[in-house]
Symmetry: C2
Subunit: 212 residues, 2 copies
Amino acid sequence: MADIVTGPGSAAAKAARDRAEEEGLGLAEKRVASEEIFRGRMLHIFNDTVELPNGMPASREVIRHVGAVAVLPLTGDGQAVVERQFRYPVGKVITEIPAGKLNSSDEDRLEAAKRELREETGITADEWTDMGEFIPAAAYCDEKLTLYLARGLHYGPRDLDDDEFLNVETVPFGELVDDVMNGRIVDAKTQTAVLKAACLTGYFAKGSGDGR
Amino acid sequence: MADIVTGPGSAAAKAARDRAEEEGLGLAEKRVASEEIFRGRMLHIFNDTVELPNGMPASREVIRHVGAVAVLPLTGDGQAVVERQFRYPVGKVITEIPAGKLNSSDEDRLEAAKRELREETGITADEWTDMGEFIPAAAYCDEKLTLYLARGLHYGPRDLDDDEFLNVETVPFGELVDDVMNGRIVDAKTQTAVLKAACLTGYFAKGSGDGR
């Protein structure tokens, strides 16, 4: 059980957090043993044993994932391109931005994003903006997604895998923001990508509130 | 391979999407077989076989998760309360909002949020706002998180599990927004919760852009 550190958010506190991050704050866990549970097409699953900061052992269920990319494509007239796809784990069709796994963990992420966007929607784009890293489930999976904003769109043929079924739609960007805020959009990467894009494109501006 | 549907985002198109969602758009997959791979403390893992919309079989690796809650606590003077926690799957300390698993899949989510916030930070709150559902990894996990905003905070003692190690910090809300936007905050639920809260509290306002 670690200390409570209440800081004013000053530059010094921020620098201290950076250092602490490097040093793991005395919070780090050390791997003692690793048992492979399952090697699937998508998921590689381990049941590891770690040593906690207090020296005690604990088990950690970990999914190793190759990594992924997701792309929010925006048209020149304020529309977003989204997909409607059945997601078996949740048993329903949900609205998502185009996304896909890397071919290998060292694949160039921008190239992967261009490929996935073209294959799933037929779109190529002139302008790509890296919107940052996104770790969906840090408690149990090492998957890292990189989110992109794509603008300057050109439409061509799709190239879906034989076992890939999804519909592509364009929706007004403002409606997509509303659907994130009102809870209709439940997909995590889509929520973050849409709200980040709203900031980056000036759809959102700094308001009068200070967050209270 | 399903059709491309390009709609104007009208109310009629929206209603059509609602109906299509109910009917699965002809995109639904049917479970044919299910093999249990692993039953862990946190993850229950299956390798299922499904029938695709075209009648062909496919395998689906699925993690069944009990569900979770996450809470962004905001103080009366524009500060946010966050945690710094070592996440074994990604091998580093990351900044996150307080969160935790449900005790059972039918547990009341608001009660779970109150419990997790109190245990991890010692905080109780007068005002709770449901910020909606969040599905972190719909491709392979059925986990659903509910995000909450907590205001009107009171501080008391923490009550961490013996194997739980995390630091609690307060940071200015504006700094947290900046850190989501500049990529320092990589945790998915924290990204969405911070950006949604920025909208809800008036930290963001509607700008002049229309998303292009």
